[in-house]
Each structure stands twice: as C-alpha cells, then as structure tokens.
Amino acid sequence: MSSTFDQIANIIAETCDIPRDTIKPESHAIDDLGIDSLDFLDIAFAIDKAFGIKMPLEKWTQEVNDGKATTEQYFVLQNLADRIDELVAAKNAAPGA
C-alpha cells in the first residue's frame, strides 16, 4: 500500500501536470511546485475523495493569516500527509466510524 505522501504526490502530478519525480516530501506546494489556489481546489477535491475526509482548508488558511501557523505546517507535502493521516485517524475514531 502506498504511503499518504505517495498518494498526494500522485494526485498533484496528475492534477497539475507536474512531473512526479520532482515532487518530494520536502516540497512546498506553493513555493516549490507553484500550485495556485485554483489548482489546490482540484487537489483538495481529489484528496477528500481519496481519503474520505474534508480537509479544513479554510481553517488552515485562517490560522496562517492570523499568524497562528506557517504555510510550511500545511503545505510542505510531508506535513500535509501528516495532517491527512491525523484527519483519517480522527474520522476512524469517531463514533459510528
């Protein structure tokens, strides 16, 4: 089974037409890969579907805008993979999951 990072890297490669081998765990989605907010909508849709979650993009954006978080915490891909793993774990731990 591929890792969460591999899955999101494959999604980004396919959605944004970025060569897969240039997408690294340490890549910053915005600063390194040049993904803009519109492309990120597409990526978020694909990730939500693939993992059965709802990534809280608005909450994350607000935290960054308020200075409570850095973009690296959410948009460096290994960190994004970790956030996704947390969301999946929280979903699986929820009552009725």
Binding site: L41, D42, F45, L57
Partner: protein, 157 residues
C-alpha cells in the same frame, strides 16, 4: 431564460436537500439576437450559455444546501460536453447533484436534457464565499422568489 441579464433559469421544479440534487427548467427564447450570429440559417444555443445554465442550476442547489449563508462562484469547468444541438424555443431541463462539499468549495455534476435527450453535461467546481455585498444577497432572495425556490426546504432541519 433572460439571456440579456444572464438569468438563465426560469423555474425550480424540484429541490431535494437530502439527496442534494435539484431539477430546474430553462426556456430557451424563440428569438434573440444571439441566434442571428450563432449561426445564420442554423440557430443554436452557444455551448458557453449551456455551461452557464448548468452552473446557475448548480448554484441554486448549493445555495439551498448552504441555506443561503454563502454564495457559490464558478471556479472550474471540467468535462463540459455539448452532446446535441439546442434550438431556439426549446425547454431545457437541468439536473444537478452535489458531488462533494469541501472546505470553501463544492463540486457538482450536471446534466441538461430536452425531453429525454441528453444535450449537455459537466462537472463544475465552485468557490464558496460570504456574500460580498448585501445588495447581492437581496437580489438572490428576490430571484429565489421569482423562480420558485422552495424556501421552506431550508427552514426545516
């Protein structure tokens, strides 16, 4: 369908918030200057207007799902397919289904038919934003009333 004002949906036939889908009707005008140019001797609805009609249908669905708390703005058009000609005077029936409600965005799948014939389809993504101006909210309320939006559907949980 009031093409001049880009108000393409005439009537909401059904809004099912449990299934998250909507059915609307849009009467293509029998006469309009658009058809003089598109095309002389062979008037048909432009694909961009069919796409816009699908977007507006989806927009009413999303407004219903969100209880008019946020406004959907078209952001991405995918897989837009014009599957057959739509002539002046046709009655379009458009069905939209909410495919996904994400954080700050929503995705719909939409199909437009004349009778049983599928004429257009698309997957559409919308950004969801607070109403940027109170006048827009007032306008949307008025339009909702005009096209028969079932406001009772969003007042009962």
């Amino acid at each position: 369908m009031d093409i001049d004002y880009f108000r393409l949906i005439d009537r909401i036939v059904d809004l099912d918030l449990d299934e998250k889908k909507i059915t609307v009707e849009a009467q293509v005008p029998a006469v309009h200057t658009i058809f003089e140019g598109h095309f002389p001797g062979f008037p048909i609805m432009p694909g961009v207007l069919l796409t816009e009609a699908m977007a507006q249908s989806s927009g009413w669905l999303i407004l219903g799902v969100l209880k008019f708390e946020r406004m959907p703005f078209l952001a991405i058009v995918k897989e837009a397919k014009m599957r057959g000609f739509v002539s002046p005077g046709s009655l379009l029936t458009i069905e939209a289904k909410l495919e996904h409600e994400g954080s700050g965005f929503a995705v719909t799948k939409v199909k437009g038919r004349i009778g049983k014939d599928l004429k257009c389809s698309a997957e559409l993504t919308f950004g969801l934003a607070p109403f940027p101006d109170p006048a827009l909210r007032v306008h949307m309320d008025a339009m909702a009333n005009k096209i028969g939006f079932p406001l009772q559907a969003i007042t009962h949980d």
